[in-house]
Symmetry: C2
Subunit: 291 residues, 2 copies
């Protein structure tokens, strides 16, 4: 036993070296294969969203199966509905008026909302474009009161830490006022919480990782469409990103490791006594430049 | 002259040490000031979008002037339009039907589009929520044919490099087919190109940098709302992110250094013979989880 023990480090070292040699050989094979397949790589890059995730991910994470997008897919004629110019102007004005009434509302009532409307707004979000048509989003709709409360506990605990870490002498005696900053009643009262996860990578049938290019931009764009759909349906929300809660909430909601929480939207009707900050929006000339 | 030359390194060293001492003292003062102002820092963090940019930016880039958001702003009652449940369901269905007709269209005609519609869709995008209400977006609308052509040259040159770098033996003789991948006629033909810049930081009246938290998520959400507004108006686009062209295009369009190109949307009507890839979208059960 003693002899075996003293030999163990040696054995381990030998095994490590052997594994290293095997892995190196395997890598060499893969490199060869990849060099061969390089020409096929990303033929779709001009076709869809591209962003920094392109560079963040290792080349070997891209599987060849991924490359088929542009090569094999058929192209079909596209016919678009056409409005008169007057109609276009009117429609664009009315849509602006509707969306301009949207505000982030933090005081949501517990009145029930038809589930069908939630289904439809998420269907609508799912029409968003995405990098290489990966559709890298999961919308987790939480309606169970206990689960909503657990989410509230996780979010408030983290928020309390965020606030307390930032607090100094001046505010120590002003806890009451600051309290409202990390108390999020809407996480209990809103009939639905929509937690939006970005899938940072996917899996191919052969188990290999499939890179999801531009997943954050894609999922954020889908959220913009979701916000428009909510406003169109007469529902309100506040666009929040629970700081540091992502991993905890992901485990609570049993989402796989390739998904990361991007946004949390509590959805419902405003309370009767809801207030909003008296903010204004930048005028068109401050956000648009015509050349 | 020779003496001066030989003394130069010594002088340089002394000057460097002195500068170091001065800077250290200044930093110390700043640290003191910051410790004092810490309690006021980010009182709004739960109020709006938060993301990784929060951690990427240096603490000293945040100016105290930035903190007034939640402290001084008045809150006003909020009254929302209310639809019947039947209306909500109908509205949400119809909006889904409208948005589900959206496709990324790469074949855009040169037919003119009323400028008023473009103004309205950008106004609509400007209603998007943003981290701490920074509204960190600039929409550059290019209608000048020469400028559009210059943009095309820049984008195509970079795309050609992107493609050629990826090309191997197998494709060397198949240039013609691949050519379509980096040739972007729509950059000339579309009556408008909308280039969307994210403002990664702003400037306060005192010249200090103002952190724009969550600028990429915020601007992407605004783009989602823009895409919905375009579809509602009967206009088509392809959501593209010109790889590596950002700095070149920023200079061409005379945008300041705090702005980075996020997306480029050519906007117009589809050509009569436009085609789209025969893609389908994931069904609701693949993108939504209800708990």
């Amino acid at each position: 036993m003693a002899l075996f023990s003293s030999l163990t480090p040696l054995f381990t070292a030998i095994i490590c070296v052997l594994i290293g040699v095997i892995l190196k050989k395997k890598n060499g094979e893969r490199e060869k294969r990849e060099t061969k397949s390089k020409p096929l790589s990303h033929p779709w890059v001009d076709e869809d969203l591209k962003d920094c995730t392109d560079h963040q991910l290792e080349e070997e994470e891209v599987d060849e199966g991924w490359q088929g997008f542009d090569e094999n897919i058929a192209h079909v004629p596209f016919f678009a509905e056409r409005y008169s110019e007057a109609e276009m102007i009117k429609r664009s004005q009315e849509f602006y008026k509707l969306l301009n009434k949207r505000r982030s509302v933090r005081f949501l009532s517990d009145e029930p909302v038809p589930r069908e409307v939630i289904d439809n707004v998420i269907r609508t979000a799912g029409t968003s474009p995405s990098g290489a048509h990966t559709e890298p989003w999961t919308f987790v709709v939480v309606q169970d009161p206990d689960l909503k409360h657990k989410i509230r506990e996780i979010v408030e605990e983290e928020e309390e830490i965020n606030y307390k870490k930032r607090m100094g002498d001046r505010w120590v005696n002003d806890l009451k006022r600051l309290r409202t900053n990390w108390i999020k009643e809407y996480l209990d009262t809103a009939p639905y919480l929509i937690l939006i996860f970005k899938q940072v990578y996917g899996r191919l049938p052969n188990g290999k990782k499939k890179t999801h290019y531009y997943n954050e931009i894609s999922v954020s764009i889908a959220c913009g469409i979701l916000l428009a759909a909510l406003q169109n349906a007469g529902l309100y929300t506040v666009t929040s990103t629970p700081l540091n809660c992502g991993p905890h909430l992901r485990v609570l909601l049993q989402r796989p490791a390739n998904e990361k929480l991007l946004l949390l939207l509590p959805v419902g009707y405003p309370k009767k006594d809801a207030t909003v900050p008296a903010l204004t929006r930048k005028p068109l000339e401050d956000i648009m430049v015509v050349m």
